[in-house]
Symmetry: C2
């Protein structure tokens, strides 16, 4: 029913998803990058996004566990190392600090307690559902679809640059430590995505496979978007914090009555 | 660390979850039951909630597939039959029409096309994530926790009565067909939950088990809440419909620009 696309057409379809629905379009990001958020709202974002950060290596390992080709695993393992880092032995070598630790430097800089952040208490349930949906997707779909779902990194450098500039311009918490995650990703993401894109274009050989990879990237874009919807609803507009979720010091808990 | 609760204390803890965070407290339900929603907003609710409806028998079957006791399965299978019904052979026997078909009578009455509803296109991604999280929870946790997660039915009759009264008072679409799901559940839910509650109170014998069942019911309450948060954000306030989701005829698609 759907015709086979050329390599260029498929790449163009994938890039169109970014144009249409990547989360740089979301109002929450415009507020975040434009300096319009209070400290507590930025805390809520960083706290919730931490669950995404710690889940990334798990989804990459779920994918690698099903890869048959050691050469492919050798390439993909770099992503896990990028996020997990090299631990205490490498603590003095700044380039070997992992993305999860870098994200915790951001939450530190925002005044959040590390034990609270890593406990994952206080994250929005909707954050958990969206992120878990990503891990489940990667765990259960074909390697091709799983790799395709990582291609939102095609669109990430632009948002990271916008974020670094916005944070530096507008927020007192911006410094080398709190920005370190985003600066590092500017180097890592283009390398990762170059491989991922070629892999997808090489391996999506039937019309069905092409539609599957398009669907996979759309699924990924949707779940990034859903995370911001939940943050926006709880902490910006209308500002209804679900019972039990994190309440920043500069906001009041929402009171629900019968 | 946590002491063993008496049977009465455990029941009271479970009921307290309903008091504190059952979704009858959610602003979306107040609008829905108070006649404050436009037709398109009610359509969005019924369309999204349909995904929950079709997933209920799947979670019950995932649970039954791990039950070792035929006597327990004989009781639990009633829930599957309640939702799935008895098909064409029973179409003239109104009591044997399943909950999924009854829900479709509601979406029919709201003017939604059945093929569109059952295609699940247009539901909010956040609906899918929250509901899938429920099916995954029931599929992966202990039978005890899975049964405990069904106990939101303790609180359901009140909300169904409120909904029937509100629909009859305020909405032109209210009639025997569109209300049939809710009226039927008034009979079914108390029977189901009576069994489920006794099962949980009988089988949560250690402090750890008791905390697990409390956690399971809280998890369920959270995912019901998250579904309404997503609807409220998309279709009420601030009214930001995610790219690709259902746009009612009486609303405009949200335009997102860079």
């Amino acid at each position: 029913m759907t015709r086979l696309l050329s390599r260029e057409e498929l790449e163009s379809e994938l890039r169109a998803i970014g144009e249409r629905q990547y989360h740089d379009l979301h109002p929450f990001h415009k507020l975040l990058h434009g300096g319009k958020l209070k400290r507590g709202q930025v805390q809520a974002w960083a706290l919730n996004r931490f669950y995404y950060q710690v889940s990334i290596p798990k989804k990459d390992l779920a994918l690698m566990a099903r890869m048959d080709d050691p050469a492919l695993r050798r390439i993909w393992i770099q992503r896990v190392l990028d996020h997990d880092g090299f631990g205490e032995s490498a603590r003095r070598e700044e380039g070997k600090v992992g993305g999860i630790e870098r994200w915790l430097r951001l939450t530190d800089g925002l005044g959040l307690d590390r034990d609270y952040v890593t406990s994952l208490k206080g994250i929005l349930p909707a954050t958990r559902y969206a992120v878990d949906s990503y891990v489940n997707f990667v765990s259960s779909r074909s390697t091709l679809e799983a790799v395709a779902s990582s291609l939102t990194e095609l669109f990430a450098p632009a948002i990271h640059r916008e974020r670094i500039a916005g944070f530096e311009a507008y927020y007192a918490f911006a410094n080398d430590a709190t920005l370190s995650y985003f600066r590092k990703r500017l180097d890592e993401a283009p390398r990762d995505v170059e491989f991922g894109l070629q892999y997808v274009l090489d391996n999506a050989r039937t019309a069905e496979q092409q539609q599957a990879v398009i669907g996979a990237l759309r699924h990924k874009a949707e779940l990034l978007w859903a995370q911001l919807d939940a943050l926006h609803h709880a902490y910006v507009s209308p500002g209804l914090i679900p019972p039990g979720a994190f309440v920043p010091e500069d906001m009041e808990p929402t009171v629900y009555t019968r």
